[in-house]
Symmetry: C2
Subunit: 223 residues, 2 copies
């Protein structure tokens, strides 16, 4: 049985935040993740929306993410900044690093920020927007696990390895671009799986390279 309900964005935020808090996430981590998935719903990108909360809680229960780690900012060079997220989702680490990172960019003309020891949790465009809103050009990427076969192959070798970039424009919203470098983003596959909809051709193959219209039962959902 499937029932539909409609939520305002404010209600969606509070639902996500309460679910995360009551499962043990600290106030700051719960707030950052809840804001992020609410923005996914707001922007019409359900693959980075509310359903991800289920994966967040699952990841916590499996011991794969910290519920309350304090990020550690490391000033590595005049134009390089690192954050050790100490095993938590990336959002709080990024939020804490942002002011000093923006200072580095504005002073030097370009700077790089690396968030290490994190579980990356964001659509990359959401990592780009805080920079374009400050009048900066931004480029973001993240590695992922080996889920993707090269064209014609049958062994996973590549990540979905998304890339995003953006820049401000005079008198118009910033231009922001975000793509997976695979046939499909994992979140889009997960939405098909949850809806029981067959995958478009080319999205999935089995170990013999034969196209598969459905993700397998053991398909691990994105966190």
């Amino acid at each position: 049985m499937t029932a539909s309900i409609r939520l305002t964005l404010d209600q969606a935020y509070h639902l996500a935040q309460r679910a995360l808090r009551s499962n043990g996430f600290s106030a700051e981590h719960a707030d950052a993740v809840a804001q992020n998935v609410t923005a996914g719903e707001r922007d019409g990108c359900a693959s980075h929306g509310l359903y991800r909360i289920l994966g967040c809680v699952h990841s916590l229960r499996m011991g794969k993410v910290s519920a309350d780690a304090e990020p550690e900012l490391i000033d590595s060079a005049p134009a390089i900044m690192r954050v050790n997220a100490h095993g938590a989702f990336s959002l709080v680490a990024y939020r804490r690093a942002l002011p000093a990172f923006v200072d580095k960019v504005k002073h030097n003309g370009i700077a790089a920020l690396a968030i290490n020891h994190c579980v990356h949790f964001s659509a990359l465009w959401a990592d780009i927007e805080p920079l374009t809103e400050q009048g900066l050009v931004a480029l973001a990427c993240t590695p992922s696990h080996a889920w993707v076969t090269p064209a014609g192959g049958n062994q996973p070798l590549f990540g979905t390895n998304p890339i995003a970039f953006g820049w401000p424009r005079p008198a118009r919203p910033p231009f922001v671009f975000d793509m997976a470098t695979s046939a499909a983003a994992r979140g889009e596959i997960e939405l098909h799986r949850r809806a029981g909809k067959p995958l478009p051709p080319g999205w999935g193959i089995d170990k013999d390279g034969t196209p598969q219209p459905m993700p397998p039962a053991c398909w691990p959902a994105p966190c």
Copy 2:
């Protein structure tokens, strides 16, 4: 009639250098271009090899490139450097900028170099190698003219927009990657045209979107 001759790399360099010099290129520009196309032949990438000299001379005769412009180095910010190539090929501008640019990278951790007002002349991997050889990670890209239709389209909209990157590795040669973001690089199409070989499916279409096995007679060769 087609005749084949074999040249050593040294002979190839001197042939290219003499052709460029006798057509009016300055000694420094002729040297840089001749070194570059010789490296293309050496590395087995004929699409950036000797035949490009014909295009270089054609571009000069058409007034599309300067034979002797002096590049102008502009120190824009602690981690940003620009070069105004004043209409010449990019190679001399890059060569002149490299030492100060490498200093910026090593001091700041990251830096960006932009070569403006140039006719980009290089395979991007050849722009990457001088940086990986100094122990640095490098990323290079260049725009190109609107030669490429989006998938399913019939109007040129994108450039071939190549992207290259590389990094040094301990006890092994640097890893260097170079790709066009189009179905094929223009140089590869030109090599097919010159050899009278039909293009693989997907490389070329006409104005109705119909696949074309041969470039049209008016196909402009890369410089």
